[in-house]
């Protein structure tokens, strides 16, 4: 199995010539993207630009139509790759949280540890409590997701992903479904993760976060990467007309 051979020198994420079509609609038109370990790459762009599809392709929630995606050197577009195994190294956070409503917070955080990583109940719960403290929700272990605020749910979702000890985290518009006053608590958790050196790929509309936390900013439009570079530079001094148009609307 190729999945056992992790190349430590390989980039965390390496996307080459990624094409994705839905029927007639070409959503991604040949994306090349490399994320090295420790980078925080933010992706911005208008809706329909393909940024979420790109992110979801990185852990194969979307099946690419063409091109290759390598995670730490492993080609996940190869049908022989054990995708479940690779996914344990990629944490995913969704816009709509997607917590399991029939389980407590603790259940949400331990289910995959137990069923995938085969950790003991005691070990899984210890790690779960540790991750809950990290996102500031240590006292919420016994609560059901339905009784938490949106911001708390999203922090639980981040903790759930962290419990698998991923090497990288993907965020798909993590604050877009939140009431404005709840956005900050989630961004703070993400900022702390970035400060600890987590590799992150973040699709977001939070330009402040991109500027202050991002190590690189990518602007996508029409299924292409239009412009990328240092976030401060791209935001202050966009080179491309489409980038200028977009930023003038959102800033």
């Amino acid at each position: 199995m190729t999945t056992d051979l992790i190349d430590v020198h390989a980039p965390a994420i390496e996307v080459q010539g990624l094409v994705k079509t839905f029927g007639e609609n070409e959503v991604l038109k040949g994306i090349d993207l490399t994320v090295t370990a420790g980078e925080v790459v933010c992706v911005i762009g208008p809706s329909g630009s393909g940024k979420s599809t790109l992110l979801r392709s990185v852990n194969l929630l979307e099946e690419p139509t063409g091109g290759t995606i390598r995670i730490e050197g492993i080609d996940i577009t190869d049908p022989d790759t054990d995708i479940d195994r690779v996914r344990t190294r990629i944490g995913m956070v969704f816009q709509s949280f997607n917590l399991f409503p029939h389980m407590t917070v603790l259940g949400n955080l331990t289910i995959a540890q137990r069923r995938v990583k085969k950790r003991s109940k005691v070990e899984a719960e210890r790690i779960a409590h540790e991750m809950l403290s990290r996102v500031g929700l240590a006292q919420k272990a016994g609560a059901y997701p339905g009784h938490l605020s949106g911001g708390q749910q999203q922090r639980v979702a981040i903790a759930r992903a962290l419990c698998m000890n991923p090497d990288m985290m993907l965020f798909d518009e993590p604050t877009s479904a939140l009431d404005p006053e709840l956005v900050d608590e989630v961004l703070q958790v993400m900022r702390a993760l970035a400060d600890e050196g987590m590799t992150m790929l973040v699709v977001t509309h939070e330009m402040g976060f991109a500027r202050e936390v991002g190590s690189r900013l990518i602007f996508m439009d029409g299924g292409n990467i239009v412009e990328e570079g240092d976030p401060r530079e791209v935001l202050a001094n966009p080179q491309h007309q489409r980038t200028k148009d977009f930023l003038s609307k959102v800033l």
């Binding site: 479940d84 996914r87 944490g91 969704f94 997607n98 399991f100 029939h102 995959a112 992903a161 698998m164």
Partner: protein, 265 residues
């Protein structure tokens, strides 16, 4: 004369009540109570039915229902998963199965299993478990087809994001189905499943076509036979009351569950 809307609706309501009460009184006065009482509510015959109508007939009805429900549920889950499978032949088999047993009257399915199958496989019915087992198998087939559709709807009502979140954590499709999707789907379908239980309870009255023994009579067969023997229909009325004693609490329970779930959302 301009009446207020509330006044108008009150007058309308009282008129409806008055008409209904008049109809009930007319029915009560015009009915031949003497004949009705003698034929359908005869206390001497009612007493003779005990205890067998409870210890044999009602107990059998409940047993058959529980067995058919459990068997139908197991098969129904399998069929629902097959119908949602990405593997073509699984889907086709499940579709044919569901359409066949939903499309046929339950009576014919039970008859078919009890009499056609033994001849088709060349083994006498009594070596295949006898009329009770064969009849129950027929009822399980019927139940599985109805429940498969209910369960499929329940599974599909679980948002796609649940699958995506589970798969993103490295859970396999099988683990995702078992730990995430099915438990949530079942919460959604508890009310329709309770309904299915009530329907099955009544369908046990069709088991007689497979053949019965004295000990295997359920409520309807027991009451019909007793009616013939006594040339008096009191046992049928007793059976009806016993059915209602079981089914009404169940349907009330379903209504309560539905109200509770509506509040939870």
């Amino acid at each position: 004369m301009a009446l207020k809307r509330t006044t108008k609706s009150r007058i309308y309501r009282y008129t409806v009540y008055a008409v209904l009460i008049a109809l009930v009184i007319w029915a009560a006065v015009s009915a031949d109570w003497g004949r009705l009482g003698a034929l359908f509510f005869n206390p001497q015959i009612a007493v003779k039915m005990f205890p067998a109508i409870i210890t044999t007939a009602l107990v059998n009805t409940l047993w058959f229902t529980v067995v058919a429900f459990a068997g139908g549920l197991l098969l129904g889950v399998l069929l629902a998963l097959m119908k949602l499978s990405s593997i073509g032949p699984f889907r086709w088999i499940a579709t044919v199965w569901i359409e066949l047993f939903r499309g046929l009257p339950a009576l014919l399915t039970i008859f078919g299993v009890a009499f056609i199958v033994p001849i088709a496989v060349g083994v006498p019915g009594k070596d295949l478990g006898g009329p009770v087992v064969l009849g129950l198998i027929g009822l399980v087939l019927v139940a599985s087809a109805y429940m498969a559709e209910t369960i499929r709807a329940g599974i599909q009502a679980v948002p796609k994001g649940q699958t995506e979140a589970s798969r993103s954590l490295g859970m396999s499709p099988l683990k995702t189905t078992f730990w995430i999707i099915v438990p949530q789907g079942f919460r959604i379908i508890i009310p329709p499943l309770t309904n299915e239980f009530v329907l099955l309870l009544k369908d046990t009255s069709l088991l007689f076509v497979a053949g019965t023994f004295i000990w295997s009579k359920e409520l309807t067969t027991f009451a019909r036979d007793a009616t013939t023997q006594n040339t008096n229909a009191t046992p049928l009325i007793m059976a009806a009351i016993l059915y209602l004693i079981v089914t009404i609490p169940l349907t009330r329970f379903t209504a309560w569950l539905e109200r509770r779930m509506a509040r939870a959302r």
